[in-house]
Symmetry: C2
Subunit: 406 residues, 2 copies
């Protein structure tokens, strides 16, 4: 017998639908140069510090004296310690190296974290939202059944211009809450005060927050938190996912990390026994994962060198120039524009009440521009499209010139 | 709430128990040189063809013109096609490139395959067995509860000297059957005729065989099958796992592949609807995985070049020299020795009816040799220890000299 929960999933995946439409357009219009502001993939090369580290690591694998076989499932100490020293301690976060699990990317761990949580947990997440949170829970049966209000066991927190993109905390108990800041897809951020209120909710309710910080490197404003652990008490209620994909262009080499604090416990079904999620996740990883490539981990370590930091900053500045340019240009054209100040995404309100897909089609067919329809991330994304800042400057500028022609 | 199935798992993991004992011995005997014939990790460097391919791929990542971001979740076409052309077509296997999913290693996929199968499936596996098959099913609740005969929903097929290490097909229906050949831990192989009988059973019963071929590169005898798909009709009943870890020393760089044929269907709970496992696994991978490192995939592709093939063959010959030396030497000392002719493992019967752990302790304390107690792989492994051929020649020879002193 199969896992029938899979049959509840729609056959279509947002980005494959878009790819199909773009392919058809290109076939019909072979002379048009299509510019993509669609999928969130980086375009600039890896930092030179990472390139050098990888060449060195490859050479180590060429000699028996320095060859590395199986590494620790949890990741190498050199990388876990570099994370503590650079990402955590300077922000006053007291997470230790053995609470960090190196992954092959945040997408894997955001999905796989489902393994250690009870199937009867209730879920809460923003609408719109990154589809992996929903689909991975549908697959294991935790999301319930699809109704006209969405999945029966998911509580949605709509975010839109009407509430300033600030999700409202629920007035009932929810076991597991997904939060992603800076947000994909809206490009908006959360303040320390707002985040503290979620931590307070989770502590009061005995809930767990799954905090996706994949875009934290794009934060420009001093007062915006980079990690949920900047909030007192968060170590007892939160798991946090990090990614080097957008930070340092690792989408093709695959590395990220997940923090599961030792202080984080969840109750067993008797409502009393408290179980360490750290030990459960460790057991999960030791059984179903064999560590991330040594070469990739050496590249990640190099991000934290002085040269690496400067090179990463330059690439992020490059993308954030695009974001600022799009924000200014589209605003000047009279569009309502959100995000893009502390995130590589612009969340653009469609003009004249056009639907997301309608505006997507106009941009594709009239301007040869690819975007992502907001409604693809959830019903509250209707009336928006997402633009990414990950292209090169020339394409970004030309895309904005085309917008002026609409 | 947590996933309470995790609480059913033993807190101890075989290889961590061993590591703890070895650490204690080393602390008490700092002057003794300990030789490990224990954990199955390779020691020889990567093939030069792979080293060169990785340097080239790293350089591609250093320039925007050749940079690669997200790759296909299923793996790059260049590698999938190389597998078809080299591993499959020459053996008469009609699997196509789009039925192959590149992974970050067989361990991940052996565990993750659980996601697409129904929780009420019954399981069958050999005893002794690779622990991942059992533990990943315990975690999702499919294994049932622990009894004095093992997990309540698992049927065990004992293999030992008494039945020539040939598992007996069950006389009842089982939904999912794990087979691993060349076998870990016993180092024994399966003949085409024996494998055909399992395929016939699965076709008759509507069962699925999960076939772990991680060690197929070690097969020396012409008549031993390298893939279950060498058997007619297997594409309709089998998923097969491959790994480059032992084939080409990829334990530290992480790559393997999984074949899910399009012809493979499983019934839904109505007992009638037939569902393609290929489309379920594809959906699982697109949602919870983001592909294997581009650099690693280029290394894997290089295994299939003329130089790569020769270098891989040389390394495997190197390890198999160890296996042959151990087999001959231990046999001459009067031990009962199994495996090691088409696999990098020797399955040694303990002398005088000593238990696995007892013999392990003697070898550690009297000879400073590390082995793996057979009983750690299951009750029928009692009275055996596993030796691996993955060390260097000098260590292997010295280990055998020490055996002569026992």
């Amino acid at each position: 017998m199969i896992n029938e929960n899979f049959l509840k999933l729609s056959n279509n995946y947002l980005f494959s639908d878009i790819a199909r439409k773009v392919r058809a357009y290109k076939e019909q219009n072979p002379d048009m140069r299509v510019i993509s502001l669609g999928i969130g993939d980086v375009t600039q090369p890896l930092p030179q510090a990472c390139i050098k580290a990888m060449h060195d690591a490859v050479d180590e694998m060429a000699s028996a004296a320095t060859f590395r076989g199986y590494g620790p499932e949890q990741g190498y100490e050199f990388l876990r310690q570099a994370i503590v020293d650079n990402d955590l301690r300077p922000r006053g976060i007291g997470i230790e190296a053995d609470e960090i699990f190196i992954s092959d990317g945040a997408k894997s761990d955001c999905g796989n974290i489902c393994d250690i949580l009870g199937l009867d947990c209730t879920l809460g997440l923003t609408d719109p939202v990154y589809p992996v949170y929903v689909d991975s829970n549908v697959m294991c049966g935790r999301a319930g059944t699809m109704t006209d209000k969405g999945w029966s066991r998911i509580t949605y927190f709509p975010v839109s211009r009407e509430n300033g993109f600030v999700p409202q905390r629920p007035d009932k108990h929810i076991d597991i809450i997904y939060l992603c800041y800076p947000n994909n897809p809206t490009g908006t951020v959360i303040t320390t005060q707002q985040l503290a209120e979620w931590v307070e909710y989770a502590r009061r309710e005995g809930s767990i927050i799954l905090y996706d910080a994949a875009y934290e490197a794009y934060i420009r404003h001093e007062e915006i938190p980079h990690s949920i652990y900047e909030i007192d008490g968060a170590q007892e209620v939160a798991i946090e996912f990090h990614s080097y994909s957008k930070t340092a262009g690792f989408t093709g080499v695959r590395c990220g990390y997940t923090i599961v604090p030792k202080a984080l416990c969840f109750t067993a079904s008797d409502g009393k026994t408290s179980v360490s999620l750290h030990s459960l996740w460790n057991r999960r990883q030791c059984t179903k994962f064999n560590g991330t490539s040594y070469i990739t981990q050496r590249a990640a370590e190099a991000i934290y060198t002085a040269e690496g930091k400067e090179q990463v900053r330059n690439t992020i500045d490059y993308y954030m120039d695009n974001a600022a340019y799009m924000h200014a240009h589209l605003s000047a054209l009279g569009y309502e524009v959100y995000g893009g100040t502390d995130a590589p995404y612009i969340w653009l309100r469609t003009p004249h009440g056009i639907g997301s897909w309608g505006f997507f089609e106009r941009l594709l067919h009239e301007l040869s521009l690819v975007t992502t329809p907001g409604v693809g991330f959830g019903p509250s994304g209707e009336g928006y499209v997402r633009l990414t800042a990950f292209g090169n400057h020339e394409d970004c500028r030309e895309a904005m010139e085309r917008f002026a022609r609409l």
